[in-house]
Amino acid sequence: DVKVTQSSRYLVKRTGEKVFLECVQDMDHENMFWYRQDPGLGLRLIYFSYDVKMKEKGDIPEGYSVSREKKERFSLILESASTNQTSMYLCASRPLNSEPYEQYFGPGTRLTVT
């Protein structure tokens, strides 16, 4: 079974703090993704990575950065948290495959910025 884990289920941070969200997958997948999920907006892609040290911007990268130093780990960084970054953050992975393939999701981190 594919397992995607995220470091925290719930997190409360103050405005201006630097925030790290960690994601680890155990299936040797090349591709990893960070989404945020907000009511009425669905999942929106922040960043993705298709290899170690490689990253690509998604649809809403502003205010975020990422790091992929090891294949199994993909980190999302909020350099200076703001209240509009209060959201559910979901990590996903999938193999690098030329055929259509599902993404496997972690349980999510609910981040509140006060």
Binding site: V4, N31, F33, Y35, G40, L41, G42, L43, R44, L45, F48, Y50, G58, L90, R94, L96, S98, P100, Y101, E102, Q103, Y104, F105, G106, P107, G108
Partner: protein, 111 residues
């Protein structure tokens, strides 16, 4: 810009009812359409559809894709309270590997 629209946004039914959830899309170089179920945790994969007119079925859930009209439906028959969840539709387009999601349909099944 790739776009996925789901309807209805929310739905309340009674146990035993049949429901149909809709997903329409606009995407460059369509590759696949996926349905996920999300309870208070990670979205779990239900179906992937790539070919038009072929129904995918799993128990009381089924889904079909119409590539000409650019939509898919997810049917749930004989609904149970355990079907209460957010149902997400996503499409994979030109750049592959990336999914574009709809806003989701919130389904609540009352006993």
């Amino acid at each position: 810009e790739d776009k996925v629209v789901q309807s209805p946004l929310s739905l309340v039914v009674h146990e035993g009812d049949t429901v149909t959830l809709n997903c329409s899309y606009e995407v460059t170089n369509f590759r696949s359409l996926l349905w996920y179920k999300q309870e208070k945790k990670a979205p779990t994969f239900l179906f992937m559809l790539t070919s038009s007119g072929i129904e995918k079925k799993s128990g009381r859930l089924s889904s079909i894709l119409d590539k000409k009209e650019l939509f898919s439906i997810l049917n749930i028959t004989a609904t149970q309270t355990g079907d209460s969840a957010v149902y997400l539709c996503a499409v994979e387009g030109e750049y592959g590997n990336k999914l574009v999601f709809g806003a989701g349909t919130i389904l609540r099944v009352k006993s």
